[in-house]
Symmetry: C2
Subunit: 262 residues, 2 copies
């Protein structure tokens, strides 16, 4: 990122108990290299005084019918979830409130957040704002079957705070495209397409396309075994995390400099 | 009211444009004799930072199904209205947050607000609070047929800021229980039960029960005509309003002393 770009990062959680979690997430963002000079972190609950008037103007213009069709709300959905799309929309428009300058927001977010920006786009112009746009980020897959990442199964995800030994364990138990026995795999090869370990190389831990292609080829040919890939991935992930966790702890000292109310 | 009672007054409006209206309403309350020493006025939008975390805890525990059944929400209802019951509940519980003392709230409110406190009572104990209780206040009737007061027909209501001449006009045009002609009324008498003017004496402008009973008797006997009652009511209302409006203007200087964030 360059110094002349501006970033507004919104935590996506609606509940007060998660305010602490939002602060922890902020540390990860800072560790990744965001700069206080052009980064403004908003915590929904703490900073609701900045968001609420905008959220109400948004909420007035979205009917329950639209929200239900967009988010699949049901009779059992609680009122917090129903209002949340309005709160989520507010950061798209807050720049004008804070600076007087009406600029379109560009939101880097995972694909599951897309419905929020779509309904925000629907009402933006009625409120005198530009429509926000999203960069669709892909989800980093999990380590379970089918690459699922499940909050109730922490072993299917590597957290940025995991210790090296735990990371090794999680990777060791990850779902791969390997065969039942070594002999079988040497003979028939394995399937990188369904392998969560290979996805980690593909997404983050192999920068070199040539080397990635070689890894795929050797996997399919049965030249490498799952253990080889797992060992190598664990080393790379732990190398990254050692550095990241160091930066993350340092970020505690400066996290306040990123707060929109600094 | 005595000095050892505590009042929390909540404006009932959900929208930012009405913040000014809330401030105007506060002036009326102050003019009626509330004291800054034991009155804490909360403006929903301005003071949302005090209310929001409580509102979210409430919102989490109310399903759309309950809210729809309670308030008659429909597909066309906007998200602001749907979340509003949670915001409305927050002042019932704010005392504990501000003082640490868990005391039950007693809410003087018109009967139409009753559903808000009912769902608040349903979830109060789950959140560790006492159930709030309501004093059911009656609506002062309007001046239209059937005593209706209609926001789209300002002539059916006397506002606390109305000038004397306008008050006279409104009262003069009010619906009464009178007959078509003077002769008819002298002969058959009139009906105070359906008369908006009589309701104003009953509710506010005749303290003396004996005199009120006499007025009723004379009306039914055709001894007084509607014009007599209207003239007398207009005098009393304008006398009250002259005093009230003076106090109301003085209140502008001290309204900030009532704000919960003073």
């Amino acid at each position: 990122m360059t110094d002349d770009e501006k970033f507004v990062i919104d935590d996506e959680r609606v509940l007060p108990e998660t305010t602490k979690l939002a602060h922890e997430n902020a540390l990860d963002l800072i560790a990744l290299g965001f700069k206080p000079s052009n980064t403004f972190i908003i915590y929904d609950v703490e900073d609701i005084d900045l968001l609420y008037d905008i959220a109400l103007e948004v909420a007035k213009r979205i009917t329950y019918s639209t929200a239900r069709a967009t988010f699949g709300f049901q009779d059992s959905t609680n009122l917090g979830w129903i209002f949340y799309p309005a709160v989520q929309a507010a950061p798209c428009f807050i720049h004008k409130k804070l600076t007087g300058e009406n600029v379109p927001a560009l939101i880097p977010a995972a694909i599951d957040q897309d419905p929020y920006w779509r309904i925000t786009r629907d009402i933006a112009q009625k409120l005198g704002y530009h429509k926000p746009a999203q960069i669709h980020n892909r989800f980093l897959p999990g380590l379970g079957v089918g690459g699922k990442m499940n909050a109730s199964e922490p072993e299917t995800a590597i957290f940025t705070t995991d210790l090296p030994e735990l990371v090794k364990q999680k990777i060791w138990r990850a779902f791969t495209g390997g065969k039942g026995t070594v002999a079988e795999q040497r003979k028939e090869g394995a399937n990188p397409n369904i392998c969560t370990i290979f996805q980690y190389f593909l997404y983050l831990f192999e920068q070199d396309d040539k080397k990635l292609a070689d890894r795929e080829k050797q996997c399919k040919a049965g030249e490498t075994l799952c253990g080889d890939c797992k060992k190598e991935l664990a080393e790379r992930v732990n190398k990254f995390l050692a550095e990241h966790q160091k930066k993350r702890e340092k970020a505690r000292n400066i996290v306040d400099k990123f707060h929109i109310k600094r």
